[in-house]
């Protein structure tokens, strides 16, 4: 045994004050907003150019256009081929990436600080003067169609895509896969991409984080983006509604599967809803941390799974609440039953004071750990733009989290977790699991 008493965990030392870095915000005469935060610890820079050009704004027959346009940006400009662009970027050790989501398109750069001028020029050339060469377009379209095929045969991706279809009514964009369908992508042509970029790639926000001075940065941005003007078309409205409020189980057959992918969820509110802080705390204790109720039950007590999570996936105009896991085929029904029991118990009885305290401490305490890298800070700064959050959002975040009471959390759960409306999606071996899911008596079981 130990020579000294190790029984209790050591107490904490004095806490160091830490704040979100200062952000300088200016708008260039051409309309481009520039947000800069200086982090001088390492000679690196992360850049995000965000434009509100997202998949949400597209009609269903154009689904995938925004993603595909972003994908072909690396394909070349009026001055240089795609291969030449890449060689120029990578010879200074820079990487450029384009990621397109429901709310917009983000073109990012990661490089060492002294190479930023060269890298930023290439980014600007790619976005302002894209050429969408036919060969590059055809390649990206084939890649996109192949990726759709991959998702359809990946049990986890398939379950997530099927679940979105069950949470949102058919007319809601969030119901469809982000990258579009085989039909919609096959119908897109090179001219669609040109037209899309011309209308939607308009000055948004340039976020720069790293070992860089904000004055210099603004000058650099004014130079490389000079002449880039105009505004994107207005965002569309639309209610985020479910296809049904009746609880159902949807089984997608994967003959012989040794595991079942499970999703349980329903529509929820958007990111700007006032309950968001209470929901973050409540979700942490439900399924947002290792020691959450769901994980301790399904993994640490029952051994059904390698892991289970719940989350409120809150986007601009609404979102979904979802529990997700993969479990052994033979315990599929037991796992669904435990998930529903945990949801119902939490809604009925609310969380305990101790759970809420632990969740608050976790969420507030872990905040600085998520701000170590330039890329992490840039993501947070971009979030403010994407979701129209208040400028002091990150400065006040921990206080808002610490202000959540047990009553707030209980009220948020009561209002935003609705087990009676849950859509339960299971991708697995139908022959083995359907009879047992029917026996749960949770609602109709549909296969297909």
């Amino acid at each position: 045994m130990s020579r000294f008493d190790r029984s209790d965990p050591p107490g904490a030392g004095p806490m160091r004050v830490f704040d979100f870095p200062d952000v300088d915000v200016t708008r260039l005469a051409t309309g481009l907003e520039v947000r800069v935060a200086r982090l001088s610890r390492l000679p690196v820079v992360s850049v995000n150019l965000f434009m509100p050009a997202g998949e949400f704004e597209l009609d269903p027959d154009r689904a995938g256009l925004s993603v595909l346009t972003g994908d072909v940006l690396e394909g070349g400009t009026r001055k240089r081929s795609g291969a030449e662009l890449d060689e120029a970027l990578e010879s200074v050790g820079a990487r450029m990436g384009v990621s397109t989501g429901w709310e917009g398109t983000n073109v990012s750069i990661s490089c060492l600080a002294d190479r930023l001028p060269a890298a930023l020029e290439i980014l600007a050339e790619a976005v302002l003067e894209p050429d969408f060469p036919e060969e590059e377009f055809a390649r990206a379209r084939d890649q996109s169609l192949a990726a759709i095929r991959q998702r359809a045969m990946d049990p986890s991706a398939l379950a997530s895509d099927q679940a979105s279809m069950r949470y949102f009514a058919p007319g809601v964009p969030y119901a469809r896969p982000l990258g579009g369908t085989v039909e919609s992508v096959s119908a897109l042509g090179r001219d669609d991409l040109r037209g899309y970029a011309d209308a939607w790639y308009r000055p948004g926000t340039l976020v720069v984080v790293g070992d860089i001075d904000s004055g210099e940065m603004e000058e650099m941005a004014a130079g490389v983006f000079s002449g880039w003007e105009g505004v994107s078309p207005p965002r569309r409205d639309g209610d985020i509604v479910p296809p049904t409020r009746e609880r159902k189980i949807h089984v997608v057959d994967l003959p012989g599967a040794v595991q079942s992918e499970i999703r349980v969820g329903h529509v929820t509110v958007g990111r700007s809803h006032p309950d968001v802080f209470s929901l973050v705390v409540a979700n942490t204790l439900l399924g947002g941390a290792f020691t959450s109720r769901l994980n301790l039950n399904l993994r640490e007590r029952n051994g059904f799974t390698y892991g289970v999570r719940s989350r409120f996936n809150m986007r601009n105009r609404g979102g979904c609440f979802e529990v997700s896991t993969a479990v052994g085929a033979e315990v599929t029904d037991a796992a669904v039953r435990e998930i529903m029991t945990e949801l119902e118990t939490l809604v009925r009885e609310g969380p305990t004071e101790e759970e809420v305290r632990a969740s608050r401490d976790y969420v507030a305490g872990v905040f600085p750990l998520q701000l170590e890298t330039a890329g992490q800070v840039a993501s947070r700064m971009t979030e403010v733009v994407v979701y129209g959050l208040p400028e002091d959002y990150h400065r006040t975040y921990r206080d808002r989290i610490r202000g959540v009471t047990v009553d707030d959390a209980a009220r948020a759960v009561g209002g935003h977790v609705r087990p009676g409306e849950a859509q339960i999606v299971v991708v697995g071996n139908a022959e083995e699991i359907v009879p047992r899911l029917e026996a749960l008596g949770l609602g109709p079981v549909e296969v297909g």
Binding site: P9, D142, V366
Partner: protein, 423 residues
């Protein structure tokens, strides 16, 4: 050039301690590497090093089950562990005022883990690990690729012949006695490196390390590796495993036997794989994806592993209509074209590697992980500060010679996946 400061101390029980202060963000990393991995598993015990890693989270003398994660999360930290061929690592990233919590937790399980072991805990984690295997290997298209590739690239007598996750039968066969024996053999302070990186005070931290870890008893030296770790430098032939299974697209995955991570030639291997597959200006992306359009995606990777020989892996995923023959032919054609590599290509690969290296220092957790590795593998954390210069010293001529020696048809293990009919 950037220099990461560090200092080393060795406790009387043999525990090596690396301290690397950086006060930019109030975050501290506690990172422990044990010199044990899947290579130390004997026949019939595959997957045990990883199953044991799970057991390390099931409590110790003063830490009941689930308490480890409760305390770390309550402190606003994160904690995890991974098992690989040559090592197992455990780590906490914490707000810096909770440094001692991390030390207390790690010391308790290094010293007194067996006090809390029960059959129920083993049964529970056995099921969790079996589900991890199902999720990552058995229920995943291409999920068994590394299992198949290792079986081809390393002979049955070599410790890398089997995958880290192990077989279901061996996972089923693990006993409480195995847990005790493994702990006593490998989880000893003289077989571990502890790194603290980030926001801490050097002397106070060292004092705390001595307090928590100093009285843990030194163990015996770890036994030699099972099987036959030595290998000829090349495979001597192309060996293959052609699979028809429920996959969406054809894929070719090839491994070349290359010098170990401990060899100076590994830097050449790193540059060679960068020229081939890192970034969109790389040979495989430009030729196979962009120009010839036979591949949807390409990946290359050189394994930083030590025992006998390492592997450089390249893969290419085709389109639905691509034949495996044409995909494999095109892949090897481009690999062989490395014999004509240019100085500009080498310079690009090195420039990207330099950026990636600096990026890998941004998080104190990653920084600690690299320092622990370099101390455990080489007794040389300073290698981190020489890494960029070593990469820059690699010449196009060396890459050409490397390609000639290691990337030919006499040194290939090939796994192909063909979508089954009707898929």
């Amino acid at each position: 050039m950037l220099r990461v400061p560090w200092e080393r101390h060795v406790l009387e029980n043999g525990l090596r301690v690396i301290l690397a202060p950086d006060t930019a963000v109030p975050v501290v990393a506690v990172n422990l590497w044990y010199g044990v991995g899947s290579r130390n598993e004997g026949a019939g015990k595959t997957g045990f090093a990883h199953l044991f890693e799970h057991m390390m989270f099931q409590g110790s003398a003063h830490v009941p089950k689930n308490r480890h994660f409760e305390l770390v999360e309550r402190a606003g930290g994160s904690s995890n562990a991974t098992t690989w061929f040559d090592r197992t690592n455990y780590y906490e990233t914490l707000p810096s005022h909770h440094l001692e919590l991390g030390l207390w937790l790690e010391a308790d399980r290094m010293g007194w883990m067996l006090d809390a072991m029960t059959a129920d805990k083993l049964e529970n984690q056995r099921e969790v690990v079996k589900n991890e295997r199902r999720q990552r290997y058995d229920n995943q298209p291409y999920g068994d690729w590394d299992e198949r590739l290792q079986a081809l690239a390393y002979p049955a007598t070599h410790p890398y012949h089997h995958p880290v996750i192990g077989s279901m039968a061996d996972i089923d066969g693990a006993t409480l006695e195995d847990v005790s024996a493994f702990f006593r053999t490998f989880y000893v302070p003289n077989n571990a490196v502890l790194t603290i990186a980030g926001d801490f005070h050097g002397e106070a931290a060292l004092e705390a390390v001595r307090r928590y870890f100093g009285e843990i008893e030194r163990g015996s030296p770890v036994p030699p590796l099972p099987g036959e770790p030595e290998l000829p430098p090349v495979l001597g032939a192309t060996v293959r495993d052609d699979v028809v299974s429920r996959v969406p697209l054809p894929r070719v995955i090839a491994a070349f036997r290359i010098p170990s991570y401990a060899s100076d030639d590994f830097y050449t291997a790193e540059v060679a794989q960068g020229v081939l597959g890192t970034g969109r200006a790389s040979r495989l992306y430009r030729r196979l994806v962009r120009e010839r359009r036979v591949a949807k995606d390409v990946v290359t990777y050189a394994y930083p592993i030590l025992t006998g020989a390492s592997m450089m892996v390249v893969w290419a995923t085709g389109y639905p209509g691509t034949s495996l023959e044409s995909l494999e032919g095109a892949l090897f054609e481009e690999v062989e074209s490395l014999s004509g590599v240019t100085d500009a290509e080498v310079a690009r690969a090195v420039a990207l590697a330099e950026t990636d290296l600096v990026r890998s220092l941004e998080r104190v957790g990653d920084r600690a992980d690299i320092l622990s590795m370099l101390e455990l593998y080489f007794g040389d954390p300073e290698r981190l500060n020489r890494e960029v210069d070593r990469m820059r010293a690699v010449t196009a001529a060396q890459v050409r010679e490397f390609a000639g020696r290691y990337l030919g048809s006499d040194n290939r293990a090939v796994v192909t996946y063909l979508p089954e009919e009707g898929a």
